[in-house]
């Protein structure tokens, strides 16, 4: 109903309360010095534009106004006042934990000897597998011990945990624990796993069409995709307080508090209700803390439970990188046939992934990879198989995009290869194959509704001057000795929803207090993506109160139980919808009350009478189902929540009497005095999902987020060094709740994707020890790597009926656009007469140099 009051909070005088709040806030906390600071974010940086308002025709017009409020923690972030787990002050009797991990890839544990720790002043305790009550966990298959028992299956697997009075002593104690191993045969690559038939789960298939249909041309090959580290800045961190009567209060940097709660409880032999997991915020997650935060919390909780003292476990960056799993490496064998004009006839692809030692989320990741092999393109005959392999690496896990980037990298590479083979521009191949009317059913049988791809391709081609630049680049490559350039325009069509149906549910608790201020808590974890700000904006807009009256609470299993991980870009979709549902119920009651008050003389209002009981209590008619459509027609009044007021207009007197208006906070108080609840808890589930994992067919997703990106790279012929010169992105995010935060997700995800395909190189030794385990050797993009020119625009799309308020999820999809940097490198290489080809992600300098100078006598 009300769509914009939230934007007024910054300048409109909504209520005295808000005003006094603001004054108070000014006195007490931090505020911007210059209230008129420009909120456009491209003001003075010469080369880049991230436009907040732009429709597909390039006009600046958006009817429904989205906000661009900063992140709800922005002022505490910039002041260093935001509290993360390790910022919690140390308790007097607190213990510090340190972990002891396997230094073998696969071995039998012969003995664990901690006798030397006992002589250490300040050493308190050690726990091993014997101390774990239920030593088994796993997000899909329960196949992983919390602490290794008898055997270790990867370098970095936790064998024991020590606790001491100080961190220094704990670390020293950890060094003194002697673990003897008897090495066993280990499997360190996908190839080895295939030859030994070491698999997790069976082979999965998704297919459609005629296996014998083939086109006249063919590209085949093998694509090797390496993993990538999440490199969240905050390494895994846990603090556990044992409270009275066996209750454990766990503060964890987890994307999935519910799972952390469950794993901790099972490890300690407690009921789930004996454990509270609280997450205030994460210093980045990116999927890395979706499943793997749980056992780390359990190490600390076990110690706290055993010693009955507060315990703290903070992993160093090096240990975090060595211990935790990464994006799954993939090897893909492909065979694609197509017609003279580049139209794909068939795609046959066999996907193998390296799960590492345990299943973790790898089977679900494989499934998403298979579901994204089509990406933006219609492929009539398609045969995808997927097999997860078991090796002796750390168990790989979710990473922004899940399996999506692997499937998309494959098909986007194929687009480039087709273009090389038939000597046409790769963009034409893409446009020839893209999903379009009549060619809009995916290989798993879902129609691509609200398909914006054709217009996205068309707009970006024009806006980035693709054709002119293509020509400039060819000229450059012909005339320059020291560098070559490449340009590539790729797309993303990312399915939104967990492919596992039951995860698509959320819940929210909304408490409105008697002064009209609001608290909201949901299952969503704030990790920088701005889910809190988005939900607060929705709530404030629905209630017509300023957004600073809405406080988002930490994520706690005490308030929101049985939640799903904050993952799959779903945070706002499921939790925001649940919050809206709760708000809807509260509003129904308040509206009814307001309608009654509008006809009641003020002297009779509860605030005047309830204390002495001088008037009968107001009773609301039986609860109305807020979702019923007839409701609105039946009501003889309408009610508007706006600008801190609740306004009632009776249909009968709409022209004769002025509308009735009451301050929101006053109405809330009247409700309380009438014993009407102004708090609500709601559960929400996404309807109409039905993907059958056995047949590989069905409605896997609620909708698709789409986008396109054009990247231009320049490569040094002598060293293989890559510069990303220019990137243009055009995204369809439906009707954003907060455009600025959405654009932040786009730039951040793109650069993260770009890092994965270029400089981020995981190098292991023979035992599976990650050698690049810190930022000195593992190179995520630096500010110097940000594209020299970086334009990000959103199109106007009000047509996404599937999701609430027409919004679209943004967290993961733009990461897949980073692949355009990689295909641009491929494009540059193919400009040589020898049509050099890339077969690997990441395209590090060395990989590129190898591709460019096959003549330089490489031994392997």
């Amino acid at each position: 109903m009300t769509t914009s009051p939230n934007t007024k909070s910054a300048d409109g005088d909504c209520s005295e309360l808000a005003e006094s709040r603001r004054k108070e806030a000014k006195r007490r906390s931090l505020r911007p010095v210059n209230e008129h600071f420009s909120s456009t974010i491209n003001a003075e940086s010469a080369n880049s534009k991230q436009s907040l308002v732009k429709n597909s025709k390039g006009q600046n017009s958006r009817q429904t106004k989205a906000t661009s409020q900063p992140h709800d923690s922005a002022s505490t972030h910039v002041s260093g006042l935001s509290e993360y787990v390790d910022d919690r002050p140390e308790m007097q009797n607190e213990l510090h934990c340190a972990v002891i991990y396997s230094t073998e890839a696969h071995a039998r544990i012969l003995s664990i000897d901690a006798s030397e720790c006992n002589t250490l002043d300040g050493f308190v305790d050690i726990i091993t597998a014997a101390d774990v009550h239920h030593n088994c966990w796993g997000p899909i298959f329960k196949d992983q011990p919390i602490l290794a028992k008898d055997v270790v299956q990867y370098y970095g697997e936790i064998v024991a945990v020590v606790a001491a009075k100080t961190l220094a002593i704990a670390k020293l104690a950890a060094k003194r624990v002697k673990v003897c191993y008897e090495p066993l045969d280990c499997t360190m690559s996908i190839q080895e796993a295939i030859s030994k038939r070491l698999f997790i789960g069976g082979e999965r298939k998704i297919q459609r069409g005629d296996p014998y249909a083939k086109g006249p041309h063919q590209v085949t090959g093998k694509l090797i995709i390496q993993g990538a580290d999440h490199f969240y800045l905050e390494s895994n961190a846990v603090v556990v307080y044992p409270r009275e009567n066996r209750l454990l209060e766990v503060h964890s940097s987890s994307q999935h508090p519910t799972e952390t709660q469950h794993v901790v409880a099972e490890a300690c032999g407690l009921a789930f209700s004996d454990v509270i997991c609280i997450v205030k915020r994460l210093g980045g997650g990116f999927g890395g803390k979706e499943s793997q935060a749980a056992p780390i919390a359990a190490y600390c909780a076990l110690m706290a439970h055993k010693t009955n003292r507060p315990c703290r476990l903070i992993l160093t960056k090096d240990d975090d990188m060595i211990i935790t799993g990464k994006r799954n490496p993939f090897e893909i064998f492909y065979d694609c046939t197509f017609q003279d004009d580049g139209a794909i006839i068939s795609l046959d692809a066999k996907l193998y992934s390296d799960a590492g030692a345990y299943a973790d989320l790898s089977t679900a990741i494989m499934e998403r990879a298979m579901l994204h092999c089509d990406n933006a393109y219609f492929i009539p005959n398609i045969f995808i198989t997927g097999q997860v392999c078991k090796t002796n690496h750390h168990p790989h896990t979710a990473f922004r995009g899940f399996g999506g980037p692997k499937g998309v990298a494959l098909i986007e590479l194929i687009m480039e290869k087709i273009a090389i083979q038939i000597s046409i521009d790769a963009l034409n191949v893409r446009k020839r194959n893209m999903y379009r009317p009549s060619f809009d059913i995916t290989h798993y049988g879902q129609r691509v509704e609200n398909n914006m791809l054709p217009s996205l391709f068309e707009s970006l081609e024009k806006e980035c001057h693709y054709k002119a630049r293509r020509k400039e680049i060819s000229d450059w490559n012909r005339s320059h000795q020291s560098t070559i350039k490449g340009l590539s325009l790729t797309a993303v069509k990312f399915g939104i929803s967990f492919t596992t149906r039951f995860l698509n549910q959320g819940n929210a608790l909304v408490n409105i207090h008697r002064d009209g201020s609001v608290q909201v808590s949901t299952g969503a974890v704030e990790m920088g993506q701005g889910v809190n700000q988005r939900i607060a904006t929705l709530v404030s807009s629905e209630l017509g109160v300023p957004v600073d009256l809405v406080r988002m609470l930490s994520t706690s299993t005490e308030r929101n139980a049985n939640t799903s991980p904050t993952a799959a870009s779903s945070g706002t979709d499921i939790n925001g919808a649940a919050a809206l549902k709760a708000i809807g119920l509260i509003k129904e009651r308040l509206a009814k009350l307001a309608a009654i008050l509008s006809k009641t003389p003020k002297e009779q209002w509860p605030s005047q009478t309830a204390g002495l009981g001088t008037a009968p209590e107001i009773e609301l008619a039986s609860p109305i189902n807020p979702e019923s459509k007839e409701l609105k027609n039946k009501l003889d009044y309408e009610c508007l929540f706006s600008d801190g007021q609740v306004i009632v207009r009776h249909h009968s007197s709409i022209n004769t009497q002025p509308a009735f208006s009451i301050k929101f906070s006053d109405l809330v108080n009247e409700a309380y005095l009438s014993r009407i609840s102004v708090c609500e808890y709601s559960h929400f589930k996404i309807e109409n999902l039905g993907f059958n994992k056995i047949t590989g067919q069905g409605q896997a997703f609620l909708y698709f987020t789409q986008g396109v990106a054009a990247s231009e790279v320049e490569i040094c012929r002598y060293t293989g060094d890559v510069k990303v010169r220019r990137v243009d992105i055009l995204m369809d995010l439906g009707r954003p709740i907060n455009e600025a935060l959405d654009i932040g997700q786009v730039t951040g995800a793109f650069v993260q994707g770009m890092g994965w395909v270029t400089t981020e190189n995981l190098v292991y030794n023979k035992k599976g020890l990650l050698l690049t385990h810190s930022p000195s050797t593992y190179k995520i993009p630096n500010i110097q790597d940000t594209p020299r020119e970086f334009n990000v625009h959103l199109i106007d799309n009000d047509g996404n009926q599937a999701n609430f308020k027409g919004t679209k999820a943004v967290g993961e999809p733009p990461l897949l656009l980073g692949i355009s940097v990689w295909t641009a490198i491929q494009n540059a290489l193919s400009s040589s007469p020898k049509h050099l080809q890339l077969e690997k992600i990441p395209a590090t300098n060395e990989v590129i140099l190898r591709a460019m100078h096959p003549d330089l006598g490489w031994t392997i």
Binding site: L120, G748, L849
Partner: protein, 548 residues
Amino acid sequence: MRHVTTKSTTKKLMAKKKTVKHPIEKKSTRNLSAGIQNGSLSTRISANSKSSEIFFYLNGQEVRPTAEEAFMMTADWLRKRKGMPGTKIVCAEGDCGACTVLIADPRKESLDFVPINSCVYLVGQLHGKSVVTIEGISNGSILSPVQNAMMKCHGSQCGYCTPGFVMALTGLLESRKMDNIPAAQKRKVCTNYLTGNLCRCTGYAPILDAACNMTDDSNYELKHRYLNEKIITTLKSNIWKTNQMGDKHGPTWYSPNQLEDALKFLKNQKSSVKILGSTTDLGVLYNKGKSQPNAFLSLQNIKALHASKVTPKQVQIGAQVSLESVRGAMKNIDSEFVNLLNIFASPQIKNVATLIGNVANGSPIGDTIPYLLVRNAIVYTSGISQGKIRERKIPLDKFYIGYKTSALESQELITKITFDRPKANNFVRHYKISTRKDLDISTMSMAISLDCEFSGHQFTIKQPRIAIGGMGPTAARIYSVEQKWEHQILTKTTILDLTHETACSINLELSPLSDHRGSADYRRALITNFFSKFASEFSQFLESMGVP
């Protein structure tokens, strides 16, 4: 958090709690004499220099840390001892910038606040400085222009990198580098200034926007707040004084104001002493448990070691001169050296890291070493021998004797380094390749310098110098090639043959390693390509000189 993890230290940590209350002056004198065997020497040290305790300002407040605290890394100390968790620790190795704080050091020529990595900076090294952390940025309850810009431009998502960025940006604003420059250049200046800060969430675009949109407001200038007259005077009266702290059983902190005292200390200490440049190398080893010294010898209070001098033929750099100062000094003297330093580490590191530290560390991939080799650098060392100071001059190409080992004796330290200024007809190139171009250690680097003699259309090579890093246990000159090149008469065509031949012979001579930075093949390919690149650039140079 990451202080020494030996048994003795741990015991000491325990013991410490009881002893903190002792007056430090007394304690440290006692400790020092305990650490020094020669009785007469210890008397002389205390006679020579009035020792004082470690003293500095933290967000305008005076601080006097204990000896145990002096041994802590600043970031740990702030977070765990001072209750100031705004400063974040991510990598503890200087590579991410989350721990950035600002320091102003009155020992330096210009008294500015510059960003440093507090995770690799010992509390003891803060002596005589003014330090500002994220907690000291906002003015009362009001956000600073930098904080404001970061907030409004959405420069922060998860917020973990944010305090570091705010500190670096504040340093940028204070440096006045952004004054009066066109908008188009601002972005470049900001980018260069923020090279030391990683962010995994934003993709940097919003941070650059914030950087370009900071308003300048003199009310927020840190200098007004944390470098007022009183603070400056107090600091200046403290900087060139000896400080010494420690315990018989624990670490000893010694920072004399005389070179002689430093040398005596080195000679007499039996336990493992580490000489501190600025701990950007040492701090990493220390944090990661790879170095556990019992005593630190800080050179920062010895005035003579802060000197640098440029003469018509030579440059001389003292042991305590930072890379950033070297970069400044080389601006109009040796532009290729400046280019090298531009992509060396980050502003945070360069603001403190010393050139001598890079040389003394002797890493085969130390970036300045190949360059200094082709500039005929000479290392000056001092030590005590038979009661007297003995100075040695060691040419840099004789300095390294193996992987991270040098001709420096355990009782010696390096006082300065000298190297040649380029002659008018000098042609020099430095090539570095790393996984990521910025803030990364090289996979391989190479420097080539030639003096060119022209006679008519003929051109002769004089004094060729070729040095390579990352291809063996030490960075080294390739004498065989230098000999071959000497007196060669070149044209544009013969340079191609010569470089090609050279690359082949070097690849036969050296056998590089394969490691996580690159395979041996890759390193060989790079040698070949570096020489092709050199040939191409040299041809252009010849062309510009009119050589056919």
